[in-house]
Amino acid sequence: MARRAPLLLAPMPVRQRTPLLKTALWVTVAVLGAVALGSVALHRGETINSAWLVVAAICVYALGYRFYSAFIAAKVLSLDASRATPAERLDNGRDFVPTNKWIVFGHHFAAISGPGPLIGPTLAAQFGYLPGTLWILVGAVLGGCVQDFVILACSLRRNGRSLGQMARDELGPVSGATALIGVMMIMIILIAVLGLVVVKALAHSPWGTFTVGMTIPIALLMGFYMRHIRPGRVLEMSLIGVVLLILCVLLGGYVNHHPSLHTAFDLGPKALAWIVIVYGFAAATLPVWMLLAPRDYLSTFMKLGTIFLLAIAIILLRPEIQMPAVTPFIDGTGPIFGGKLFPFVFITIACGAISGFHSLISSGTTPKLLTREPDARMIGYGAMMLESFVAIMAMIAACVMEPGIFFAINSPAGVVGALPAETVATISSWGFPVSVEMMDGLAHEVGEITLFHRTGGAPSLAIGMATLFSGLFGDTFISVWYHFAIMFEALFILTTLDAGTRVGRFMLQDLLGNVVPALGRTSWYPGVFLTSALVVGSWGYFLWTGVTDPLGGINSLWPLFGISNQMLAAIALCVATTIIIKSGRARYAWVTAFPLAWLLTVTSAAAWEKLFSNEFRIGFLAKARILGDQLTAGTLSPEMMEKAPQLIFNANLNAALTFFFLVVIWIMATDTARICYRVLTGRPTLPSSETPFEPTRPSPDLATIPEPTQM
C-alpha cells in the first residue's frame, strides 16, 4: 500500500502563486470526485461498478488532504518546521528517535490499522452500500483524520505525552481520571468483541482452526530463533515465519480432508472461547520475546501484504456491486444487528471513519519519532485516509457477493431460523434470493462444513476476498484463498487481543499500584498474575456472553464496542478542542468542536436506544424485561428456561455498561465546556502544558536517512 501512497499523499510545497496547471488539476479532481460521488449516490440500476466507489474515495481523500489538512496544519495548529520535535530534543536512541517520515508513516499505519475497518463496514452493509460508504468518506475527512492529526500535533508539542496525561494537564484531574477509565473500558469491550469475531470465524472450521492454531507454535519458534539462534535478525525471522505460515494454510486443506484430524480440529464456539481466553492470559504474562513480539511481526507483514493485494485485486478487477444502494433494513429490522440507520450506521462503521483508539497511538509511540513538525500532517491525517480506504475496500468486498448469500452468512440462527431451508426462505422473502444449493456449493468450494449463520463479519469478508483473489489468480485456489483470508483476519485480531490484554494489565497495575504499591511492580509475579487474570476475566466474561447468546452476540457486543470507541474519540476531541481554544485560536475550534458535537449526538442517541428502546433486539433493558416476563409466564422452551436468568443478567450488565459510557462522555463534555468557557471569559485555568519553543538544529545525519520503502 505504501508504494502507492506517494502518488496520493505527496505534500504540496507552499507556493506564492498557484500556477494555472495546478488549479486546473485540482478542478479536475473536484469535478471527477463530484461525478463519481453523484454516480454512487444516485445510481438506481441493477448493479454499479465498484470503480465508482474507488474513484469517489480517492478524489475525496485527495481534496481533503490537499486543502483541509493544509488549512489545519497552517491555521489551526501552526505547524512549524523550525521548531524542534521531541525526537530531536529528547533523542535517546530508544523510544525518542528522529525517523524518516515514510518509515514513521509505515509504523503509524501498521499500528492504527486493525480489524475494525474490515468488520464494521461488512456489518453495516446490511443497510446497503451507500450509507456506510458516505459515512466512511465524510467521517474520515472531517472527523477521523482530523482527530488523529490534531492529537498527534498536540502530543508532539507536549513531549509525546499520552491522551490521559494531556486530559489531566489541560482539563484537570476529573477529566484525566475519566479519560483513563474510558480507555480501560474500551479495551475490555474491544478485546471481547474481537475475540468473539475469531471464535465465530473458527467455529466448526477445522481448516481455519488448524491454520490459526499453528500461528502459535510458529511464533514461539520465531521468538526462540531471534532470542537464541540469530539475535536481532528480524527480517530473517519474519521471512521464515511467513513461509511456514503459508505452508500451514496449504496444509490445512490436508487436515480438513483427513478423517481423524478433521474431528480433532472441529471445535465448537465454547471450546474456542476457552482457548482464546487461556491464550490471552498466556500472551499477557509470558515475556514478549517469546510469543507477542514475533507474532506481531508475522501479523504486520501479513496485514500490509494482504491489504495491498486486496487493493490490487479491486483496482484490476473492478467488480460489480450486487448489493442495493439502500436496503429496507434502514428501518431497524435488519437481521445482522437491530437498529435504525441513525444512529447505528455510525456506531457500526466506527473505526473506518473515526476511531477513538487511534488517539492512543497518536499520543503514544508516533510523536516520539517525528523529525519535523509538518510531517504530522502526512502521518496523522494521511495514515487515517489510508485506513479509511481499507474500510471502503471492505465495503466493496461485502457488496460484490450476492446479497442473499451475504445475509445467509451473516444472519444469526435466532433471527432467520436454524434450519437451512428456513433461513433461505426468510432471506428470499426479503427480496434477496438465495438457495440451500447455492450455500452448500459455496461452502464446499471454500472447504467449510457450512456457511449458514457464520456471524461476526469475518467469514463473509473472507468469501468476498477469496472471490476477488481467485478472480485475479484463477478459481482453483478459492478454498486456499478463503482460509488465507480467515488466517489473516484471525492473526491480527489475536495480535490486537494479546497486545491489548498486556496494555490493559499495565494500566490496571498502574491504577492498583496507587493503593497497594506491590501490585504496581511489573516484575512481581503474584501481581502480574492477579492483574492479568482480572483483565482477561473481564473481557473473557463478555466474550462468553457473546458466545452463548442465541442472537449471536455480535448484535449486543458490536454496538457496545462502537459506542465505546466513538466515546473515546469524543474524549480525544474534548482534549483537542480545549487545547485549540487555550492556544488562542478559538475561531478555529469548530475544526474539532464540530465532529465532537456530532459524536456526542450519535453516541448519546445510540446509548439511549440501547438502553430504552422497547425492541427486544435493540434495548438491553427491554430484552431483560421481556425475557423476565416470559420466564415468569413459563412461555419459553425448556432450553431457554435454563438460559434465561443468565441472559437477563447479561442484558442488565450491558445496560449498566452503556449507562456508564453515557456518564463518562457527558462528564468529559461538561468539563470541557466549563474549561473552555473559563478560557474564553478570561478566568484562570490550568496553564497550557505546551513545551516552549526550541529551534531545530541542522543535523547532517538526517540527510543520510534512506528513501521510502515497502513498509
Binding site: P231, S355, T496, T709
Partner: protein
C-alpha cells in the same frame, strides 16, 4: 541507469527495509551509545541479547496495536 546507480538504489531500499522493520535496531543502539559515551569510560554497551530483551519489553508497554 548505470550499474553503480542501481546498486546504490538497491542498497538504499535495503537499508530502508531494515530500518522500517527494526532489523538494524541494535546497530543504531550501538551508534547512539558511542555518541553518548566518551571514549575511555568503563561502561560497556549492552550485548545484543540483552538489548533485544529490554527493547522489546519496553516497546510493548505502550499501546501499539489498534482495533
Amino acid at each position: 541507469m548505470t550499474a553503480a546507480n542501481l546498486l546504490s538504489v538497491l542498497s538504499t531500499l535495503w537499508r530502508g527495509l531494515r530500518r522500517a522493520t527494526g532489523d538494524d535496531a541494535y546497530d543504531r543502539y550501538l551508534e547512539h551509545w558511542r555518541v553518548e559515551h566518551t571514549v575511555g569510560s568503563d561502561e560497556e554497551p549492552m550485548d545484543i541479547k540483552t538489548f533485544y530483551r529490554t527493547h522489546q519489553e519496553a516497546q510493548w508497554q505502550d499501546v501499539r496495536r489498534c482495533c
